[in-house]
Subunit: 262 residues, 2 copies
Amino acid sequence: MLERVRIVLIGTSHPGNIGGVARAMHNMGLADLALVAPRCDIITQDSISRASGADHLLHSAQVFASIEDAVADCTLAVGASARSRTLPWPMLSPRELADRLPAECQPADSRVALVFGREDSGLTNAELQRCHAHVHIPTNADFSSLNLAAAVQVLAYECRMAWLSQASHEPSASGPAATVQPVTVSQADDDLASHAALENYFEHLERVLITIRFHDPEKPRQLMARLRRLYLRARPEQMEMNILRGILSATEKATQHKQPRE
Amino acid sequence: MLERVRIVLIGTSHPGNIGGVARAMHNMGLADLALVAPRCDIITQDSISRASGADHLLHSAQVFASIEDAVADCTLAVGASARSRTLPWPMLSPRELADRLPAECQPADSRVALVFGREDSGLTNAELQRCHAHVHIPTNADFSSLNLAAAVQVLAYECRMAWLSQASHEPSASGPAATVQPVTVSQADDDLASHAALENYFEHLERVLITIRFHDPEKPRQLMARLRRLYLRARPEQMEMNILRGILSATEKATQHKQPRE
């Protein structure tokens, strides 16, 4: 899917931004970069340094004279745009675009172009009207102009998320699904303690709390209930349970010679 | 909600990246920037030019000596991290983090810190273990190192999307987050312990574990890291923190007459 997404930059004027775009694309697994009438050199010290290892995308980038040439083979062209336009156009949020992407990229010959305008003036109305739809990245109304590489980063990230969620729907790759519960993920290295192990711990804990005179069964208040809630919430692993039991045993050993108390 | 999200940059070495982060933050409506032991000047021609109009965030940025100081008042600290770590930690995707945010930011005194590491080496294990959870931005396995400003851009974008969807879901704003984290729900009856209170607890705990001879700082293995992970995962309330501190004090009292040991 990601290999069918093309990033199109129109009239870019700073090599560093082209390098930053290349890095953002490669980070998210995109590789098809098209430059329309760039207003600067593409391969410079600045662009290579900002690409930071993704400069092969600078070398493989195709250069076109017009947006028509750059998107000629594309089945969907979406222009990045600020919201209000004289002529209303189908407008997508980055997430709505991502939701459409898997279907749009299904056909073998499909190509989706994400078109970005000039650093200073964006896309012209003529260029926006070459696009099937426009995508607007929500921004602070008082400060809406995103850096070019940042805008590409956000859309490329949404493309990757769409690709990953698509992959996760296939039976094998249940990776992302596992992250639904962060706690579950944190258990990956060990099994959860059994309920019996937890009950044994709570009994042991109460004995020790009485020994160190922190807990008085005659006046329990809600001490054990609160401690239960805390530890049950943490879903301890077996290994963690062993550590907590070990701490209780060490506490008993360190205090034993003081029994019976004065 | 967005005003309760703090971006924490640790050991940043390029002023341009700090400027890029300021621009990304202001674009998405974030304003709280904290710098921990920066390895470069903050206000430079490069940082101001990359901030491109958001340089007021550079001037208002707070500088701290350590991550503990920068997140001391935070109720949730999330560290940006590559996936595999020696000791697995609760791991969120940027979207799962965004889903949690509305509920996390509900209390008036809540503060959420998103912590980013050095350009060259990221966050240390010690720094990652100061965080309740880690967030991993999905990237191309062959090219996973995101530019610092790009990483902040992605998470800031997800924060803004969460804020926008919350606004559109009013009044049932807490809907999405409630489904994500039962932990959050369990905190309803009391305030969360601050990060500083947790750090004080871990210091006290380590002293006591040494006293009862359960812990040998010469051979730490991963004991304190495992205990940190367990208690940070449980998100203790202030009242629970008081109970745990009380247990440590009672343990010290019950063992004191046996010091020094034979």
